[in-house]
C-alpha cells in the first residue's frame, strides 16, 4: 500500500520545525532598520520605591523586542527585586510590581521609544543590600532613511513558516479534535540488544489520527531515563528511521536510540513534520530493543495530534 501523502500548501525554504520565537520578522521594510541593544548599568540601593529614568539615543526611534534585567548573581535578584515599567508619558506598562524573574521576556509586540525618549523603571529592592544590575532593552533602531537595503541587493528574504501553519487543515465536512494516544510499555523483557519487532499500536476506529509529535517517558520515575531504543513503523509498514551507519549493532536497521530517549528523555515532545497519517482502525508498530541490563525498562509512548472527524 502506498505511503499516505501529506499536502504541502507551498514550497518551503525555511525550517518548519523551528520554534516560532527563534525567527522574528526579518522581512523587508521601507525603513532602514538595524539590530540594536541598549544596556543601562544601574546600582539599586536598599530602599523603598525608587524611580530610575533611562534615556535612549537621539539618532533614531527604537523598537523594543525584548526586555530583561541581569545581575552577576541572577538568582539573588530574581525574586527579591521587583520592577514596574513606565513609558515617557508616565503610562505604566505593568500594572503592578513584578519580580524580575517574571518580567524578563520578549515583549508581546513592538514597543516604540521616540528618539531621545525616556523610559522609567520603578524598583523595589528587597534583597537586603544594594545590587548592581544591567537593564537591557533589545530591539531595533529605525531610521528615516530611504534607499537602504534590508536585504542584500538581488536577494529575497527566506520566510519563516511555523510548523502549525503548515499542517493540513480539516477540509469542508470535517473537524479536527486534539487528541493524545498513550501506550504504556511495562517491564519490557526483550533480551538485551535484541530487537523485538512489531509491537502493535492500534488506533481507534472512530476517526483517522494525524500524529504531530511524539515522546517517550519513563513509566516509573518522572524525567528518569529509559534503557530501551525504539523505532516507529507507520500503519503502512514504513519504518520511519534508517540507520546509515549501524556501527554499534549488527542489526542493519538499528533502532533510533534518540527517539526513545535513553538519556534524552525530554519534557517536550519531538515535533513530527510532516504529520503522520494513521487511518481509523489502523495499526502502527513499535520495534523495541533493551540496550542495558540495568535500569528502568518501562516507558510510556505518547502520540500527540488530532483526530479528524467527519461532521454529521
Amino acid at each position: 500500500m502506498p505511503t499516505p501523502l501529506t499536502l504541502i500548501p507551498e514550497t518551503p525554504y525555511g525550517n518548519p520545525i523551528a520554534p516560532q520565537w527563534m525567527f522574528p520578522d526579518w522581512g523587508n521594510s521601507p525603513w532602514c532598520e538595524s539590530d540594536f541593544t541598549y544596556t543601562f548599568p544601574l546600582t539599586i540601593p536598599v530602599a523603598g520605591l525608587q524611580a530610575h529614568p533611562l534615556t535612549f539615543g537621539r539618532d533614531s526611534e527604537f523598537h523594543v523586542v525584548q526586555f530583561f534585567i541581569y545581575a552577576v548573581t541572577q538568582s539573588a535578584i530574581d525574586n527579591a527585586v521587583e520592577v514596574r515599567l513606565v513609558d515617557d508619558v508616565g503610562k505604566r506598562r505593568v500594572n503592578a510590581f513584578v519580580q524580575v524573574a517574571n518580567l524578563n521576556s520578549y515583549v508581546a509586540r513592538d514597543w516604540v521609544v521616540a528618539p531621545g525618549g525616556t523610559q522609567r523603571i520603578d524598583v523595589r529592592n528587597l534583597t537586603g543590600g544594594s545590587v548592581a544590575v544591567w537593564v537591557v532593552f533589545k530591539g531595533r533602531k529605525r531610521f528615516q532613511q530611504q534607499a537602504c537595503a534590508p536585504v542584500a541587493p538581488g536577494f529575497c528574504q527566506v520566510d519563516y513558516v511555523p510548523t502549525w501553519a503548515r499542517y493540513s487543515v480539516a477540509p469542508p465536512g470535517f473537524v479536527d479534535e486534539p487528541y493524545i494516544y498513550q501506550f504504556v510499555m511495562w517491564n519490557i523483557t526483550a533480551p538485551v540488544n535484541i530487537t523485538v519487532e512489531g509491537t502493535p499500536i492500534p488506533m481507534d476506529t472512530d476517526a483517522p489520527f494525524l500524529v504531530r509529535s511524539v515522546s517517550v517517558r519513563n513509566a516509573v520515575v518522572p524525567d528518569g531515563a529509559t534503557t530501551f531504543a525504539a523505532r516507529l513503523v507507520d500503519c503502512y509498514g514504513d519504518r520511519l528511521v534508517l540507520n546509515v551507519n549501524p556501527g554499534l549493532t549488527s542489526n542493519p536497521y538499528a533502532l533510533e536510540a534518540c527517539f526513545a530517549g535513553q538519556t534524552l528523555i525530554s519534557s517536550f515532545a519531538r515535533p513530527m513534520y510532516p504529520e503522520l497519517v494513521c487511518p481509523a482502525g489502523g495499526v502502527m508498530a513499535l520495534d523495541l530493543r533493551v540496550v542495558a541490563t540495568v535500569g528502568q525498562t518501562s516507558g510510556i509512548l505518547y502520540l500527540n495530534g488530532v483526530k479528524r472527524h467527519r461532521v454529521g
Binding site: 525554504y13 525555511g14 525550517n15 527563534m22 525567527f23 544596556t39 523586542v65 540488544n193 534503557t227
Partner: protein
C-alpha cells in the same frame, strides 16, 4: 532571487580570566559570499582535553559587544546575556539581521564579570550566506523540492564510536537513499548506554555537502569544528538548521568526527530529523 544557505561563523575565544576585557577581536568572513547574521550562540568547555571536560552555557556575566560591517556598534555598551542560553543548541535571535560582505569583518569585544575564569569560550554567529542565482544556477549545492511532491516524516540515524584519544575520523559518508530526497531540519544526539563511560561532550563534528562545502567556518574559508552536543540537541528541540538542508536522492553528504576526551569514548547516535520528499 538568491540562495540562502545555513552557516555558523565560529570564534574560538579561549579563556577569559576574572575581570579581563578583550577590547577588540575580529572574526573575518569567508570570501565566497556575503554573510547575514541572524542569531548569536555560544558555549564554554571546562577542563577541555581531559576526561572531565564538560560543555556548559556561557554565563550571562560574559559581556559582549558586536559591530556591524562598518564598525558601528550594535549595542551602546558591553551587554550581559548576549550569548548565554539555558540549553545547548539554543541560539539568541537578532531583532534585525546584519549583513557582512564577503571578506568583511565582525568586530567584537568581551568582558568577564563572572567573578571567575571562563574557560574554552566559543562564540557562534549564526546565519546564512547569500549566493547569487537560483536553485539551478547558484554556485553552491542547492537542490530543492520538485514542483509536485509529497512528504513523509523520516529520520536517518548515524551511530558513532570513537575511543578516547582516537585519531580524527574524516570523510565519513552520509548517503541518502535513492528512493526520495531528504530534508534535514534538525538533529538529535545521545550517548549509548551500553558502552562504558560513553559521552558526547568531547565529540566535535564538521558536516559537508556533496560539493565539499561545510556549514561552519572560522573565517577565511577555514572549516570549523563544533561540539556536536551544542550543534545537536535533545528530542524536544532538535538542533536546527535554518534554512533546512535539502539533499537530493542518492546524494552523499560527509562528516568528520573528533573526540577530545582522552579517556572516555565518544559513542552514541545522532539522527537527522526531517522528511523524505517524493516527486510525483
Amino acid at each position: 532571487m538568491g540562495i540562502e544557505r545555513h552557516i555558523d561563523m565560529v570564534l574560538n575565544l579561549g579563556t577569559l580570566t576574572a575581570g579581563q576585557i578583550i577590547p577588540s577581536i575580529q572574526l573575518p568572513m569567508d570570501s565566497d559570499a556575503p554573510f547575514v547574521l541572524r542569531a548569536l550562540g555560544g558555549y564554554q568547555v571546562t577542563d577541555g582535553g581531559t576526561a572531565e571536560e564538560l560543555i556548559a552555557p556561557l554565563p550571562a556575566a560574559l559581556l559582549m559587544r558586536l559591530a556591524d560591517a562598518d564598525g558601528n556598534w550594535l549595542q551602546n555598551a558591553r551587554t550581559p546575556g548576549m550569548v548565554s542560553q539555558p540549553q545547548q543548541s539554543d541560539f539568541i535571535p537578532m531583532a534585525k539581521h546584519t549583513i557582512y560582505p564577503a571578506r568583511g569583518v565582525a568586530q567584537m569585544e568581551f568582558e568577564n564579570l563572572a567573578g571567575g575564569t571562563i574557560e574554552g569560550i566559543v562564540i557562534i554567529l549564526r546565519g546564512v550566506k547569500l549566493y547569487p542565482g537560483d536553485r539551478n544556477t547558484a554556485p553552491c549545492y542547492a537542490p530543492t523540492y520538485p514542483d509536485c511532491y509529497s512528504q513523509m516524516t523520516f529520520q536517518y540515524a548515524v551511530d558513532f564510536n570513537l575511543a578516547g584519544g582516537a585519531a580524527d575520523l574524516l570523510n565519513q559518508p552520509l548517503a541518502i537513499n535513492g528512493d526520495a530526497d531528504m530534508v534535514w531540519r534538525g538533529t538529535i544526539i545521545s550517548a549509548n548506554f551500553s558502552i562504558a563511560n560513553a559521552q558526547t561532550n568531547g565529540l566535535h563534528i564538521r558536516v559537508r555537502d556533496p560539493l565539499g562545502k561545510g556549514y561552519a567556518s572560522t573565517g577565511n574559508g577555514q572549516a570549523a569544528w563544533l561540539r556536536a552536543a551544542w550543534l545537536f540537541a535533545e528530542p524536544g528541540k532538535p538542533g536546527l538548521w535554518f534554512p533546512e538542508l535539502y539533499i537530493g536522492k542518492g546524494q552523499q553528504y560527509s562528516y568528520d568526527l573528533r573526540n577530545t576526551n582522552p579517556a572516555n569514548p565518544a559513542a552514541g547516535q545522532f539522527t537527522l530529523e526531517g522528511g523524505k520528499v517524493y516527486g510525483q
